[in-house]
């Protein structure tokens, strides 16, 4: 298995290289340049021109690409023109916010999906099962932005149960318990939205896995030995069915990343997705390129992670 991991990791290098090249060329094609925003009636146009030359704006694209990629290797993605700070510092801050949101979302996905999937499988073809299937179907079909808006409208504005933007209330001291809980409180609604959208696959997998397990020999043996059905579900079936869903972690992460752009924009949550949209609007190239690289990298990592977990928990699908 380690051979596969090493090989997959090595394959990621040319993939990242091609991605970086495509992204760099695309970003260079974008109209306007970051200095256009600096022009005011008072500024001297020649001063802007000087800035452009200084920043290497007129160098051939491969010179610029080489400069960018060698710096990027050392963790230097340049300066953000909008925020006037290093891109790595800016993204670092935002990535941390996105990380907390994703972490809570993943926890909620599993907390929701495992009991629902188990119940649906156990109470197969009952009203409960049908309702759970309907729920998983709606969560699969509904677009992220529609669910986010409806949740924000209902729980944020109508019932006013949750804050409608930001990460933490002003005036709370960082490091205190109150600060921590306030942060979680701000995270709950967006994380819940993401979690509901991420449950479909796990519920359906668990349901069919449990229906399948019911007819397996080990369950029949346990039944004939007189073990109560509740214990069989809790011990035998649960253990056999739940382990493989760990492999969904990779897909869940990739899915969350894709949805983060909508969720963060709608909930006004300052993460990487929200930063991406605002950077596109302000033509902050260095931030745009760095963010797409990071998302691409995380997506590759997510699919690698899925394969590794899958081969550990289920030897039948071992990759080689």
């Amino acid at each position: 298995m380690w051979k596969t991991v090493v090989r997959r990791t090595i394959v990621m290098i040319p993939q990242m290289f091609i991605l970086s090249l495509i992204i760099f060329i695309l970003a260079k094609q974008m109209p306007g340049d970051p200095f256009t925003g600096l022009i005011t009636p008072e500024t001297d146009p020649s001063r802007i021109e000087e800035l452009r030359i200084q920043a290497g704006f007129y160098d051939p694209w491969y010179v610029q690409y080489y400069r960018w990629i060698t710096n990027a290797f050392q963790g230097d993605f340049g300066q953000s023109y909008t925020y006037k700070i290093a891109v790595s510092t800016l993204i670092g801050e935002r990535a941390l916010n996105t990380f907390w949101l994703s972490l809570l979302s993943v926890i909620l996905v599993y907390l929701l999906a495992i009991p629902l999937g188990m119940l649906a499988g156990r109470k197969q073809d009952t009203f409960l099962d049908k309702s759970i299937i309907l729920y998983s179907f709606i969560s699969f079909a509904i677009p992220t932005f529609v669910l986010s808006l409806v949740f924000l409208f209902v729980f944020g504005y109508r019932f006013m149960w949750f804050p409608t933007s930001g990460t933490v209330d002003v005036g709370l001291e960082s490091g205190t318990m109150a600060y921590f809980w306030n942060k979680i409180y701000h995270l709950l609604l967006p994380a819940m939205t993401a979690a509901i959208l991420g449950t479909t696959g796990i519920i359906q997998y668990l349901r069919s896995e449990i229906i399948d397990a019911k007819t397996q020999d080990y369950v029949k043996t346990a039944r004939s030995k007189g073990i109560p059905i509740r214990r069989i579900y809790a011990r035998h079936i649960f253990r056999n069915s739940v382990l493989p869903i760990a492999a969904f972690l990779g897909f869940t992460i990739t899915g969350l990343l894709g949805g983060s752009i909508f969720i963060e924009t709608i909930y006004g949550y300052p993460g990487m997705g929200e930063l991406f949209i605002s950077s596109i609007t302000s033509r902050d190239y260095s931030v745009i390129t760095a963010l797409i690289m990071l998302y691409g990298f995380l997506a590759l990592l997510g699919s690698l992670l899925s394969d590794i977990i899958m081969s550990i928990v289920d030897p039948r699908i071992r990759i080689d």
Partner: protein
């Protein structure tokens, strides 16, 4: 002579699927039946109403009627920030969104099916090289690349948007068709046609393709729902259709203004619900098709 033998061969090999199986599946599944009629009626209504509506009249700015509530002054669904009729915009927007989704689905399916069959039929090196390319594209952060592409193109409209989305949507279809074509391409009738000297193109598109038709219908329906989601999502973020062309996504995007979201629900909620209803309905139809295509999953 060759062609005739080939066709008889085909008939003996083709599975007993067909319109009857599909009909039976829909009869067994009331929700799918309901979805089918519901979606058909909604689509027909949208296209006929959009054809009868005067688009310029609907989009004319009328500041005195700003945020008129539903039911007042003859506005069935009220008016938006610029005093434009929401119902009219909903119809025109839905027509635009549906047309784009249909176009993307058609283009992406044609490319995906052709690529998938070529890969599955030839396998070997052609397949290997193309699979590596596809594996790479599949891991790209597509939504971000759409957004960058849309901001690069200076004059973009419906056509450009359709091309950009289709350029990425064929990938998944190609992968699916490839795996089916790989197993189908090993069947006896294919080898028989080969020895008879039937050209590769004829085998691929006259022999293999009809046998994959049940999966193609499933894929077509499900990708239609997905493409409605992509177009409306991009338009919602402001990177889909230009602001002058209404789309369901543009209507929903008015809700990015907290004031509209909180108090003027009639501007964005109907479009959101229409997106949800369309996507749910089309998905239900697709699932019924899927069960009809796969004997193991059939209800009856």
């Amino acid at each position: 002579m060759t062609q005739q033998t080939y066709e008889t061969n085909m008939m003996e090999n083709s599975p007993p699927t067909g319109i009857q199986v599909v009909l039976r599946e829909f009869k067994k599944d009331k929700v799918a039946m309901f979805s089918f009629f519901g979606v058909t009626i909604i689509m027909l209504t949208i296209f006929i109403a959009a054809w009868m509506l005067n688009q310029e009249e609907v989009l004319k700015i009328n500041l005195l009627e700003r945020y008129t509530e539903p039911g007042v002054n003859g506005y069935i669904l009220g008016a938006d920030e610029a005093g434009r009729d929401v119902l009219g915009q909903l119809i025109i927007g839905a027509k635009n969104s549906l047309l784009i989704a249909i176009w993307v689905t058609v283009i992406a399916n044609i490319i995906g099916i052709a690529m998938g069959i070529i890969m599955g039929y030839y396998s070997g090196i052609v397949d290997n090289v193309m699979m590596r390319i596809i594996d790479f594209i599949i891991t790209l952060p597509t939504l971000m690349i759409f957004i960058v592409l849309v901001s690069i193109i200076p004059e973009y409209g419906v056509l450009e948007l359709v091309i950009i989305i289709s350029a990425f949507q064929w990938i998944g279809i190609a992968r699916l068709i490839r795996s089916k074509a790989l197993s189908e391409g090993r069947r006896d009738y294919v080898s028989a046609s080969k020895t008879m000297g039937t050209s590769d193109i004829a085998i691929m598109f006259k022999g293999l393709l009809p046998n994959l038709s049940s999966i193609l219908i499933v894929e077509f329906t499900l990708s239609l729902a997905g493409n409605i989601g992509i177009e409306t999502g991009l338009s919602f973020l402001g990177f889909g259709l230009p602001p002058s062309t209404p789309s369901l996504g543009t209507l929903v995007s008015y809700a990015r203004n907290p004031l509209v979201l909180a108090d003027k629900w009639w501007v964005w909620l109907p479009a959101s619900l229409l997106i949800l209803v369309l996507m749910l309905g089309i998905n239900y139809i697709g699932q019924a098709f899927r069960r009809a295509a796969d004997a193991k999953q059939r209800l009856g």
